[in-house]
């Protein structure tokens, strides 16, 4: 098999891939042996704690740490004055982890201490005196865009994007051009093609709505935690719960002025990430405390800190227009998206804009997005960042269009579905994709045939996610007994170690149990991008396959030496080296165990390696179908049945693929039903805990039914597509469409909590 093979055509039948063995880390996790972020200790370790702003926006006039520093047991106190100054993107990260002259949101870190125990650390925090001057704040995206809104960063943004917004003709009518020199609107994003004005003139039916979604948190069970240890020679070690330890190393080294080679980062097991652990919060603070104290420092966020000071997703305000002919063909689509991503630029509005209409083949489409800053914590990625909100708005309009046209919602989507060769709404032309296949499978499923009762409704929605690849490096070391040690550099947040083992086993023709995967630290492997973008099974998988092929080639070379024949006269099949043909000689096969046992005496250790900046990650589409029942007396909504159909390209470990489908669906259900960041008039978060911020529990959801569609991705040797994110794109819209059908009124505001359902029912009756 050629090492540069990059087409799914080179592998059509599988022995290991496509099976669902027990995960290698499973036993440790269920017995409590697995070590997470907070589980590591070191001799002489101190406890790190962070003091946070109680104000949404305030000038920090002075900080007096003298009493805290004098407290017995306190070994270090730091403020922004202890951190280097930076410009550009690093400056935003640095200010987010430790406020400089202003606190920009409730929960913003302003100082930190390292002490001998938690009690002393807490007491020290109380002894830090900060003189605040409270400033006006804004937490709502629409209010932040008003000309007289309090400015989050006075003077930083020049008003150009605001003027474009006001001049675009897409905003509310009657507003004059802004004369302000500063604004909260950071950037404007434009996508689309064709002529939407002409397109809407061709439309027989037009649907138009305004939608809002609230910020939600990823809800990972494990809070952020790390243990930093900086020695007196300036070198350091960090044990951390993260989705990307190479990123943590590089960012921390840059922020703290360390050589990258002098910081070694080891990832712990991770208790959920979903995108929220793709940046740094406490890690540079722990390193700075350790450097100042000369002792190891552990920092563990409380749940309240996770809510107030890590990175939830953006809230949004979206306007959509969609026009179709009587036959159901879409002729024009238009959307304006406004996302606030907290106190720093970088809301995922551009990806919301790019994904909004990606499911459809549209002759005329225009999308404008605005990135807006507010006095909230800086948002972080959350599973398909930006896409669920825009899909909620667009798919809501598609659902209503189906009602108005009297068409089946799946048939309407299929009539307009993007296929191979479709020019996408965000620009590029699609290659082989599987949206139509998901729609067909959804329509055939038994759930779609269930007859609904009183107060029940059915919702359908489709969704798209790009999927990414990126920098990846993998090692395979052959052990003396013929088993393999597989070292990858992408933290396992969804069962990827099992998938990597399956792919290595597949390539080398050996049992799955003979391969053991670890997540190597930053000093043991070349750079790996963060575990994000649904990239790991694709990219680390691709690298694993090629590292296994490299290993197989070396095994063949070793067999050739033993047999005294040319290396190209040996082939690797079913876990053993064989003569490639009758001309090569008549030698009995040499198994991987036999070659491993002789390795030291036939040339030394045998290892496979591969590094790549991978490309070719195929996009993924999904279609969800959900039935709900609404109680008109209480507004309580029950999800009766839920179906996820998604294109996985090739499911390496089908049970984990189903788990990704189900997990995304449940998180999306939570986004619709209850989850929201609630801010008071004072700009403070009102519900920073799982009692008041309610994520779904088992009793809230039915069994999530799944169908895996496999339209091979030509960019991967086995046809793999990423699956981790697409599954959260359709649920907001699917459930909202079902609730709308059950209520008889369009749901345009999330979450659809019982009070909102009752209000919607009341609006219908009045």
């Amino acid at each position: 098999m050629p090492l540069d093979a990059k087409t799914s055509k080179d592998k059509k039948t599988f022995k290991s891939v496509g099976t669902s063995p027990i995960r290698p880390d499973g036993l440790d996790k269920v017995t409590g042996r697995a070590r997470f972020g907070a589980d590591m200790s070191a001799p002489g370790m101190l406890v790190g704690r962070i003091l946070r702003s109680p104000h949404a926006h305030a000038k920090i006039k002075s900080i007096d740490t003298s009493k805290a520093e004098a407290l017995p047991g306190v070994k270090a106190v730091i403020t922004s004055a202890d951190l280097p100054k930076h410009k550009g993107a690093d400056e935003d990260i640095l200010i987010n982890i430790m406020a400089r002259d202003r606190a920009l949101y409730d929960g913003h870190a302003v100082a930190a201490v390292a002490a001998i125990d938690p009690a002393v650390a807490r007491k020290a925090l109380k002894l830090i005196k900060i003189d605040y001057e409270v400033l006006p704040h804004v937490t709502d995206v629409d209010l932040a865009m008003l000309p007289d809104a309090p400015l989050v960063h006075p003077g930083r943004y020049d008003g150009a994007a605001e003027n474009e917004h006001l001049a675009s003709g897409l905003q509310e009518k009657g507003k004059a051009k802004s004369k302000r020199k500063s604004t909260n609107i950071v950037s404007r994003y434009d996508f689309g093609h064709g002529d939407v004005k002409k397109g809407f003139k061709q439309a027989d039916v037009i649907v138009e709505h305004e939608f809002t979604t609230e910020a939600t948190h990823q809800g990972y069970i494990e809070p952020h935690a790390c243990l930093a240890n900086v020695s007196s020679d300036g070198s350091g070690e960090l044990w951390v719960c993260t989705q990307g330890h190479f990123m943590v190393r590089d960012v921390c080294a840059a922020l703290l002025g360390m050589d990258v080679s002098r910081l070694r980062v080891t990832p712990s097991e991770i208790g959920g990430g979903f995108g929220g652990k793709t940046t740094v919060f406490i890690e540079p603070v722990a390193l700075a405390l350790s450097r100042k104290a000369g002792r190891p420092v552990k920092v563990v966020m409380s749940r309240e800190e996770v809510f107030r000071a890590s990175g939830p997703t953006a809230s949004s305000s979206i306007k959509v227009r969609l026009g179709a002919r009587k036959d159901g063909r879409f002729v024009a689509a238009e959307a304006v998206l406004k996302y606030q991503g907290g106190a720093f630029p970088g809301s995922p509005v551009e990806m919301g804009a790019m994904t909004a209409f990606a499911c459809y083949d549209l002759p005329n489409v225009k999308i404008v997005g605005y990135d807006v800053v507010t006095n909230r914590p800086k948002q972080a990625a959350y599973r398909a960042p930006g896409a669920p909100m825009s899909a909620f708005a667009v798919e809501g309009c598609v659902g209503e269009l189906a009602e108005k046209l009297g068409m089946d919602p799946i048939d309407l989507r299929k009539k307009n579905a993007a296929v191979e060769g479709t020019k996408s709404s965000y620009g590029p032309t699609f290659g082989p994709i599987g949206l139509v296949e998901t729609l067909d499978a959804a329509k055939k499923h038994k759930n779609y045939k269930v007859k609904l009762g009183k107060n029940q409704g059915r919702g359908v929605a489709s969704g798209f996610w790009f999927n990414f690849a990126g920098n990846t490096c993998v090692n395979i070391n052959l052990n003396v007994d013929g088993t393999l040690a597989l070292a990858v550099g992408t933290p396992d947040i969804g069962g990827s170690r099992a998938s990597m083992c399956l792919m290595a086993a597949e390539e080398l023709g050996i049992p799955y149990d003979d391969v053991r995967a670890i997540i190597a630290d930053t000093s043991s492997l070349g750079y790996n991008d963060v575990t994000d973008g649904s990239r790991v099974t694709f990219a680390s998988g691709l690298a694993t396959i090629n590292a296994a092929r490299d290993c197989a080639a070396k095994l063949c070379e070793r067999a050739a030496k033993i047999w005294g024949i040319p290396a190209d006269a040996v082939k690797w099949e079913n876990g053993a080296a064989h003569p490639a043909g009758s001309n090569a000689g008549n030698f009995p096969p040499l198994s991987i165990k036999e070659l491993a046992a002789q390795a030291h005496s036939t040339g030394g250790p045998i290892a496979g390696h591969y590094e790549v900046n991978a490309d070719g990650a195929g996009p993924s589409f999904a279609t969800h179908v959900v039935d709900v029942e609404v109680d008109p007396e209480t507004g309580y909504m029950k999800v009766l049945r839920y179906l996820v159909v998604q294109d996985a390209g090739k499911a390496v470990h089908p049970a984990y693929v189903e788990g990704q489908f189900q997990g995304g669906a449940v998180q999306g259900i939570g986004w619709v039903l209850n989850e929201e960041y609630i801010y008071g008039e004072d700009g403070r978060l009102q519900n920073p805990g799982f009692l008041d911020y309610r994520i779904p529990v088992c009793s809230d959801v039915p069994m999530i039914d799944t169908v895996i569609v496999e339209v091979p991705n030509p960019g991967h040797p086995y046809g793999v597509r990423g699956v981790g994110e697409t599954s959260i794109v359709p649920p907001l819209a699917a459930v909202a469409n079902a609730v709308s059908a059950a209520m008889g009124v369009r749901a345009t505001t999330l979450p659809m909590s019982p009070p909102r359902v009752l209000a919607a029912l009341k609006s219908k009756s009045t």
């Binding site: 404007r188 994003y189 990806m351 398909a384 590029p428 032309t429 920098n471 490309d615």
Partner: protein, 82 residues
């Protein structure tokens, strides 16, 4: 010559212009030419905050990826997932 279209915030940074005719044998050379004829985009190119879609495939860091005039080339914001 390569026909290169823009998307996202690049459009407003380029003063509303959405298409350029550029030279370059690979992504690095194409971006260098773009920065020369549209200096407003140079900061974004230097900060590496653009992705390049070539025939439907999105490249984030592959500066040496070859280009030819038959390619569909679209500049997009640099993207990241969760």
């Amino acid at each position: 010559m390569l026909t290169v279209r823009l998307g996202g915030s690049l459009v407003s940074r380029a003063g509303g212009r959405t298409e350029f005719q550029l030279e370059g044998r690979n992504i690095m050379e194409m971006l260098r030419h773009l920065g020369q004829i549209c200096p407003e985009l140079q900061p974004m190119i230097e900060k590496n905050v653009v992705s390049v879609a070539v025939d439907g495939q999105i490249y984030r860091d592959a500066l040496l990826h070859p280009l030819d005039p038959g390619n569909e080339i679209i500049l997009l914001p640099r993207m990241a997932g969760g």
